[in-house]
């Protein structure tokens, strides 16, 4: 029987490789299950002094008034302590860093007000 040495050599190398691979895959697996529940977070940070309407816009992403992870959105309310006027601004959407500008929010032009601002996440 005539043996092709090149083929025989290739076969031998492949066989050795297969044996090596099968030995290298002596493995065992196990799983670890992980879970976490991210809860509501909201932070309100407003400028100390609001001088004009631009200040009340949250269009500067570097200085957001509200940061929240609430996927139902949040509201901002304020109370003019002197006049006891309350207004409510609602952002009913998930915004990781809101940059909206609500025209109804903030003191009137050319007036000086002492206001108390509140923010809270909305319930689903």
């Amino acid at each position: 029987m005539k043996i092709n040495r090149a083929k025989y050599f290739t076969f031998f190398i492949l066989l050795a490789g297969l044996i090596s691979i099968s030995r290298a895959h002596a493995i065992s697996l196990q799983e670890v299950v992980i879970s976490a529940n991210v809860i509501d977070y909201i932070r309100l940070s407003v400028p100390e002094n609001i001088n004009n309407s631009d200040d009340i816009c949250q269009n500067d992403t570097s200085k957001p008034w509200v940061v929240t992870n609430n996927d139902s959105g949040y509201f901002i309310s304020y109370e003019n302590i002197e006049s006891n006027i309350k207004q409510l601004s609602i952002f009913s959407r998930f915004l990781s860093s809101d940059k909206g500008c609500d025209n109804q929010f903030g003191p009137q032009n050319n007036s000086v007000s002492n206001i108390q601002i509140t923010s809270a996440g909305l319930l689903p």
Binding site: A24, S28, L29, V33, I34, A36, V38, Y41
Partner: protein, 199 residues
């Protein structure tokens, strides 16, 4: 006369019979090749429930995960970790099946003392623990160094030599999220792999 014949036969039988019970010996050769065996089991905390996570307040769960590896390999074994999740995302997937908590920024090549957010793992104890994992000794030790969990199986510990007994290792977990991480429940799984060394 009969008596002499009887004595003679008796003496002859004493002389001849031992030759009839002559022993012969041979040997049976026995051999076997013990194949490589390896098994891994999580013997403590195979489920890590971090509970409620407030952004900015990292959690470490209630204990570390204990891993037991038994192998017949004369060269030891490698312990690896993976989560099958591409990119910088971790295995922790929101119930909306879209949002994920990110991987911690430290890598298995260079774990770091906890700083920042994401899901990280730390090999805080083990007979083959490398120095790079920090000097912490408990699951929530501040000196632990953490790494994000890679998509593909990556070795976190190499153990050399034959081990007559099960070898124990311990992994601590830590998670934190940025304050814009969508609220809700996240879950996932991490795969630990033990591979016998062949040389």
């Amino acid at each position: 006369m009969k008596k002499y014949i009887l004595y003679t036969l008796l003496i002859l039988s004493l002389i001849v019979l031992p030759n009839h019970s002559k022993a012969v010996t041979d040997t049976v050769d026995l051999s076997t090749d013990v194949m490589e065996f390896i098994s891994i089991s999580v013997t403590q905390n195979d489920s890590i429930a971090f509970g409620n996570l407030t952004p900015g307040s990292p959690l470490t769960g209630s204990g570390g995960t204990r891993i037991s590896v038994t192998t017949s390999s004369q060269f030891g074994y490698d312990l690896a970790i993976s989560d099958s999740v591409t990119g910088s995302n971790s295995t922790l997937l929101h119930t909306n099946v879209t949002d994920r908590i990110a991987d911690y920024a430290g890598t298995i090549g260079t774990p770091t003392i906890w700083s920042g957010t994401g899901l990280g793992a730390s090999l805080y104890s083990g007979t083959g623990k490398a120095v790079k994992w920090g000097s912490g000794t408990t699951y929530n030790d501040a000196l632990n160094k953490y790494a994000g969990i890679p998509e593909n199986s990556t070795v976190i510990m190499e153990k050399s030599g034959y081990l007559a007994n099960p070898d124990l290792s311990y992994i601590g977990w830590k998670v934190d999220v940025p304050n814009n991480q969508l609220t809700g429940s996240y879950a996932g799984s991490v795969t630990l792999t033990a591979t016998a060394k062949i040389n």
